[in-house]
């Protein structure tokens, strides 16, 4: 299957919080995405209000023991919320985000997303997936952060890289239960009710996710967790003003530190997103020319040849590297 047919014009994007957050901005949604390195209560509490967890892992569908065990929930064909099937490979990250957004009550969004949500109401998941992936504006928002190719690699017949097949699964609270929305599954999976008290839905979600991770042999699973949460900047700003007028200096200092943290993260995201949108061939050429003018290119070339020679020798010693493609 050629990647062009399969991708339907959807390009490869990185699964990075900065990319997701930019996508949310383009959708007109006041949420951001952060990396989640731990599921412990303290880490989660810092990110509240937290609307959904996105579990992404290298494409290894769950083992049968996982789907048959008692803790893995029940498929819910009657799920009344928003659920779309993944019909295009490269769209899976964006689709996961939409599956989450569609089930967050009274969420503000841009007119296009609101229209798409209302237009697809009542459709079956497959049709919904098809409608979503044929929305031009959404594909443009998604593609906006994939690298441009000034060189059309397609025409050169190079081996193409398809998306490194990450699988995206969303966990979120819906009508009192924790649901798992996986665009590759027929139905949403209901993981049962959660207690309103304490951590609420996150407590149940943590159990489900930890149980799922435990079904894989150690080291066999490459995964990360992302948190879909309110943009904390407005709330922090408001808190800061309040504390300042109350003259609570130590609390002010803490909020200032958190704001500085958030802002430097945004700066990093903006920097990286700018690099993602840019074609760096011109810079590569410029750097080579500068090396040549400085009389440093010859030596660098000789060393690069040596590096390549050593690499090829090592590969031969290993009896041909199967990862090389």
């Amino acid at each position: 299957m050629s990647s062009a047919e399969e991708s339907g014009g959807w390009q490869l994007t990185e699964s990075d919080p900065g990319v997701f957050t930019e996508l949310l901005r383009r959708l007109g949604v006041p949420l951001i995405v952060d990396d989640l390195y731990s599921l412990d209560s303290e880490s989660l509490a810092l990110l509240q209000p937290l609307h959904a967890l996105i579990f992404l892992f290298k494409w290894i569908p769950e083992s049968a023991s996982d789907s048959s065990s008692a803790s893995s929930g029940a498929p819910d064909p009657e799920f009344p919320g928003f659920f779309a099937h993944q019909v295009v490979n490269n769209a899976c990250a964006t689709l996961a985000v939409l599956n989450a957004l569609g089930n967050i009550p009274s969420l503000a969004s841009g007119p296009e997303l609101a229209e798409l949500n209302s237009f697809t109401t009542g459709m079956d998941p497959q049709t919904r997936g098809l409608v979503i992936t044929s929305a031009d504006w959404l594909r443009e928002a998604h593609n906006a952060l994939s690298p441009p190719s000034a060189i059309s690699l397609d025409e050169l017949g190079l081996p193409k890289k398809s998306e490194d097949a990450y699988h995206f699964v969303v966990y979120l609270p819906f009508m009192g239960s924790v649901y798992e929305l996986d665009g590759l599954k027929q139905h949403p999976v209901n993981h049962g009710p959660y207690p309103e008290a304490g951590e609420g839905w996150l407590q149940r979600a943590r159990q489900v996710i930890e149980a799922r991770i435990a079904t894989y042999p150690p080291g066999a699973l490459e995964f990360s967790l992302l948190a879909l949460r309110d943009d904390p900047l407005p709330a922090l700003q408001a808190q800061l003003t309040q504390l300042q007028s109350a003259g609570l200096d130590s609390e002010v200092a803490e909020i200032v530190a958190r704001l500085a943290n958030e802002n430097s993260k945004r700066e990093r995201w903006a920097f990286e997103n700018s690099l993602r949108r840019h074609n760096h061939t011109g810079l590569a050429y410029g750097l080579l020319l500068a090396l040549a003018k400085a009389g440093m290119l010859g030596k660098a070339k000789d060393e690069a040849k040596q590096v390549m020679k050593t690499r090829l020798e090592k590969r031969r010693e290993r009896g041909e590297d199967m990862e090389e493609d």
Binding site: S63, A64, P159, Q186, L288, L289, A292
Partner: protein, 268 residues
Amino acid sequence: MSEYLLAFKAGRAFRNEGTNRVEPSATKGAIILTNGDDGLLHFIWKNRSTNQIEEDLILFPTDASFVKVSQATSGRVYVLKFSSSNQRHFFWLQDASDERDAKFVENLNGLLQDPEHTLDWSSDASSAQASTSQVPQATPEQLAQIQRIVQSMSGSTQPSAPELSLTDILTPDNLRPLFTSRPELIPALFPHLPPDLPLPPSTEVLERVIHSPQFRASVASFDQALRTGLLGGLVRGLGLPEEAGTSVEAFLRAIQEQADRGDSMETD
């Protein structure tokens, strides 16, 4: 209830990260292909000692293929590969005799291409043994695909081993001396930076860019493209002769000549 499409005895094999060799595991098992309750094609590996299902992969038609690992010493090692990802699962066939190996694999690949595919063989596990139809032949497309896979597994997709790579020249180690000893050459690079960077151009910003995975990926794909020898049109846009687009070597030679002449687009 899910329906068995095909089953045969096979163990798993694992890639040893250190040596990059595939080593068969002695555990007895079976590969089972079923139409799951979800209507999707499942590729299952079952441990025959514990009867536990240890691997359950959902496959899309034409996405996966089951291919012999030609360099494996035992000769019965196969890899399940995906066209949509780099994911690989290794297996070795455990039927007492290897006579039917080819048939198992043909049937399996037939089903991986098209789950409706008619087989001449049904599973040990369901204890039915029927042989009603012909062994399916691989289509030319399948053969081409398999050849590509074998090629990519034999260690090189390039027609010949490359002599050098741009990725080994444009390293932070090579560029740092340039930044420190020849600062007058730096401003000419600024127009090549992304126009929407949140910071004004500077040597520090430039260093951040050359350390970034995005820049490195860009250099790697440019290097790949140059190796095809088909970039004549593109390099003309950089003020280089068309011949510079025929290989990495030619490209670097042309840049050196351009620098020696001092007539580059950068300084004019």
